[in-house]
Symmetry: C2
Subunit: 183 residues, 2 copies
């Protein structure tokens, strides 16, 4: 089961983070084309009491890094976050991808049964075994912030769509009946 745990916590998150890089690129291009400062998008929100794009991207990265650390028995990373430009957010994503890719698959051996304990606010703690932590906490949290980031850009007129969201799957998409792949 270590291979599937690694595939889910590293390979899939890395693919989605790469897709997010492409989505942020489109945000930047949109701002340039419209002639407004791309940093406007960094502070855009879906609701006044909801986090802006910057925090959504920081949290996506943190969730992925935290998940990898906890499943491999390492200390959870510190959430340092101060990016104020799309470029800085993309750099954070790239650093997170490098961090995830540095964890060897073998380090996930037995991760599904590892006892995970996540401190929450108000003196609460989440306690789950590794598989439950991955499927019921890390994955839902990761996608929450990723999709909210996407939604903030989409809501602000950036021309992103499902094709950008699943861009990394290109090599698995073929012409029906034919053999060619479509990027």
């Amino acid at each position: 089961m270590s291979a599937p745990m690694h595939a889910m916590a590293v390979d899939s998150f890395v693919m989605m983070l790469r897709n997010l890089l492409g989505i942020l690129d489109k945000g930047e291009a949109h701002a340039r084309a419209k002639g407004f400062d791309p940093a406007v998008l960094v502070s855009a929100r879906l609701a006044p009491d909801m986090f802006p794009l910057s925090k959504q991207v920081q949290f996506v990265c943190y969730q992925a890094a935290e998940c990898s650390a906890r499943l491999t028995g390492k200390e959870a990373p510190h959430l340092d976050a101060g990016e104020e430009t799309l470029e800085a957010l993309r750099e954070r994503i790239k650093r997170t991808i490098a961090l995830l890719e540095a964890a060897p698959a073998a380090a996930f051996e037995g991760a599904e049964d590892r006892e995970i304990s996540v401190p929450l606010r108000d003196e609460l703690v989440l306690e789950l075994k590794g598989l439950a932590y991955l499927k019921d906490w890390a994955i839902p949290q990761f996608y929450f912030h990723l999709i909210t980031a996407y939604a903030i850009l989409r809501h602000n007129g950036v021309d992103v769509g499902k094709a950008d969201y699943v861009a990394g799957l290109g090599s698995a998409i073929r012409k029906r009946g034919g053999g060619g792949t479509q990027a």
Copy 2:
């Protein structure tokens, strides 16, 4: 590996669908409290060319049902969709939960290696093995529509938060240092 596949494709999706029921309940209560027709929320969108809440909920349900069918070698369900009220959307979610729970865990035996083929538009087809299909297609698609539904309500002033999004995890959350569980 059949147990983890079933846990991810059934248990986690069912938990998140139950959370979505609670989120829609809050939407209904918000509309009643503000004195507007809850159906207004059903047709709310984050962008003019993005699907409204109704379709987001229909797609969440479809993705879950499709995933379960494909991983167990059954024919993919037909997407019938015509709900125009929050009540009808909740009924669809409940039917989907019942459908997922009816699939025995044993039916997921070998699902991770099953050859999956998903017809897409424009004569394209997605071809993946079961585990890759689950982690790189079904899960991202499921969460995409679930979180977009949440974001539509959040954007429209409904008082939902992370606690509603992860409501099903209550029994895994404890007071630090203590033994009691927090619902």
